[in-house]
């Protein structure tokens, strides 16, 4: 990579400051985060279809494979490694209880989508939950256990 293709940016990841770092202009955010050891962010398709790389950028869920690293300038990012608040601990307990994952590769993205559902504070039917997570691909579970877990989270949290 030649220096002229580097972009100098600053941002935070899970509260940790990244000041004046140089990122390749063509590198997507997921690749950058992974290169820094945030390997909980997974890549399944690199075209925004599978949802595995979904992270939080300034409070919103984004596909980190569809965002350039340089676009993270000035933002606050949260990855699965930073999902440690009380609500997310509850979500994780429900995922564990219902076995809402098998291989775990989709889980970081699925947790982020769940977080967004819960922050919207709406009571959802099972069909509506299915609709909300229909942008996150899971090959293992068949989704029912994930819907079970999210349903329980909604009941507990709302």
């Amino acid at each position: 990579m030649v220096a002229k293709n580097l972009v100098n940016i600053s941002f935070t990841v899970n509260g940790e400051r990244f000041n004046n770092v140089n990122v390749p202009s063509r590198q997507h955010l997921a690749d950058y985060l992974r290169s820094q050891g945030f390997t909980g962010t997974h890549l399944g398709c690199e075209q925004g279809a599978c949802g595995a790389c979904t992270i939080e950028m300034d409070g919103k869920a984004v596909r980190s494979c569809l965002v350039l690293a340089s676009q993270a300038n000035g933002t606050n990012l949260k990855t699965v490694e930073g999902f440690d608040d009380e609500m997310m601990e509850k979500v994780k307990q429900n995922f564990l209880k219902h076995n809402a994952f098998q291989c775990g590769f989709c889980s970081p993205g699925m947790l982020m989508t769940t977080k967004e559902i819960l922050l919207n504070k709406k009571k959802l039917t099972r069909d509506e939950i299915r609709s909300e997570i229909s942008g996150n691909y899971c090959r293992c579970t068949g989704y029912q256990s994930i819907v079970d877990a999210i349903e329980e989270c909604i009941n507990e949290i709302n």
Binding site: M1, V2, P24, R26, Q27, R34, F38, T39, G40, T41, H42, L43, G44, C45, E46, Q47, G48, A49, C50, A52, T79, V80, E81, F83, K92, F95, L96, K97, N99, F101, Q102, C103, G104, F105, C106, S107, P108, L111, R126, D127, I129, R130, S131, I133, S134, G135, N136, Y137, C138, R139, C140, T141, G142, Y143, Q144, S145, I146, V147
Partner: protein, 797 residues
Amino acid sequence: MDDIKVNQNPKLGSLDRPNSYIGRSLPRENAKKHLDGGGQFVDDLTLPRMVHVAFLRSPFAHAEIKSINTNNAKKSDGVVDVFTAKEIDEVCKPWIGNLGHLGEMRSPEQTPLAKKIARWQGEPVAVVIADSRAQAEDALELIEVDWAEKEAQVDMETALDSNAVVIHLELGNNLFWTRTVNQGDVEKAFKEADAVVETTLDFARHTGVTLESRGIVADWNKAENKMTIYHNGQAPHMMQHIIAKHLDLNEGLVRIVSRDVGGSFGIKVHVYPDEMAVTAISKKIGRPVKFIADRLESFTTDIHARCHKISGKLGVDKNGKILAMEIDDLSGIGPFSMYPRTSAIETNQVLNLSGAPYVIPNYKAVGTVVFQNKTPMCQYRAVGHPIAVAITEALIDKAAYKIDMDIDKIRKINFIPDNAYPNKCPSGVPLEDLSHEASMDKLLEIMDIKEIEVQKEEDFKKGVLTGHGVISMCEVTNPSPLFYGVGGAHISSQDGAAIRLEGSGAIHLSSSITEQGQGTEAIMKQIAADQLGVKMESVRVTLGDTDATPYGGGTWASRGAGIGGEAVLKAARKLKDNILNIAAAIMQTDKDTLDIEDNNIIRKNGGEGISLQKLAETVYYRGHELPKGTNAELLATASFLIEGIPFVFTNSAMGCQVSIDQDTGIIKINKFWAVEDCGTQINPKLVEEQIRGGVIQGIGGALFEECVYDDQGNMQNATMADYLVPMAYEMPDIIVDHVTTNSGRSIIGAKGAGEAGTGGAPAVIMNAVNNALKQVNAEVVSQPITPEKILKAIGKI
């Protein structure tokens, strides 16, 4: 502790005791790391001086490589080197995907990189090694290949025609393998039948689409002559053997580490050319080399599955009794048979398993497997089952309709009775410990067919086509050496477990079975803790490392619980026996008066015991206190394999109800029920999740998934946006129930449960759709059953 959901196997002791974990739906505490972002997948690994590769892959389905010029690519930023077949072949010997026990297989030699001819779109041709994957991809564009495109043989149905393009000239034609099974006299029986029905079904190619793509890091350490491979595979010891063999390494100095694996489903149990190339590159350049397939590479180089066209014929008497069944199956496997399992096995299973639940005295089956210029096809979850079950169950429904009999009744009168095992499939494959009658009864009980019939009529009045189906099936699980080993493949059918009591009182267990998310670690822990009498949290498990686990086959063909679990059980019982012997010596009492509960050795008749920790401390640190001659072995090992039969079968009954929108052709699955008999359930929740995940994969194949090719052999939908996988919104909740018939082959009594869902769902979906379409005299015979096919069937387009 969660409810106990299953009848306990009497060989396992009472459930009403401390530390009885077998049979309980305990959460997978070990897997919580995935929710904290702490999984360790291959791509998460970075090693010092590691380089990355990108492959130049054939853009054509069939083309001659006249020349390759890599000079400019070698000068590109960050590039370490660029190799073609010439360089890779210096370190890696070719392989052949044939086995010796099923008649002549004709696949020729295959090398990691194509030499003179590329035979499928995606076949690797050259490889760039660079400091980053991005730089390697940049340099790919600078490789100059002089291609001469050749006509491609894409369609399997014309592959044996006299004017077909012959893919391997030395073979003279495109036949890979053929087999005929002939039991009884079908010709005569069809003549005697009161009704004969026929159908021909098509199954498109689909693929595994594991969310984590294939990946490997190969690390050649010249100083130690040691090759360490981090690989997201299913069978580490098989890979150890193969890499040693083809790279001419000391097998004992090849270490395969398979840590977390992001889904496998059979996709990751095969030997892939690009992965062999990566290993060869590391050997050649002496640096760690990483390859992670991108999604395009996954679609065009992960094995595909299915690709069958099967004709079937069934003859019944007027009472519905089956007299004869005949099938003729054609399958296309791409240009090479995969190594080392071969691409004959899917067709072989179609021949073995068709009609398996039923008494069919006369049975004939012909299978033909041909080469074509498409991605190689091989074993994927429920190998051959979807085809075998769909043809059988479609014919049975047709026969029922023809003689006007209920679809459940015709099945019941033809089942091999539950009390008639051991028995045989119509093909002659041995069967034992199955329960089709009890499973169908349970299915009908939970489905409420009468209510469904009423709803069907009401929906029809509203213009909605609603239909239902029921099916029965056998699932191959727990294979013996007669599956692969007998044919010359170095694939272990025996698995081992090693269990030890450590100085701290902790228990460490290692097993040759691997984890891809099924819950291997959790069930191994349950078995060990249950059999030893210790708390679950005191057991630590190591899997997926050839340097640290016993030797064995790994995870495939639903063999983890039934084979690996039995080895753990036996090892745990041995260790318990050893512990009690030592305790008896320390406590000056008879061993039979002692037991282990909650990590303590207790006196059954009361009185003070000692903790396992105390016992371990005495053995390890104060051995001089033990009575002279005490055998203080605190490490126990055991192995297990299935002997005498090819497989331990599981059976399932499934039902579903679908509705079809006549304007859009869209099929909605309203309800789906599955009754599974996998014997002892070590963790019922995990069994249910295997069934559910399996059913959804089966629904994918039945309704959505297809690797679409044009007539030049170009895959048209090799992205996750274009290839339709089941997503949450379209999928139903699945009601799972159980019948329990323990396998008599082991103490634990567990059969497998991983593949029935995928094997049975396509059949029951298709039967339900055709049950609905029958109301308008329409039928579909091709999977995936797309809205377009429905609209064509009902004459809307």
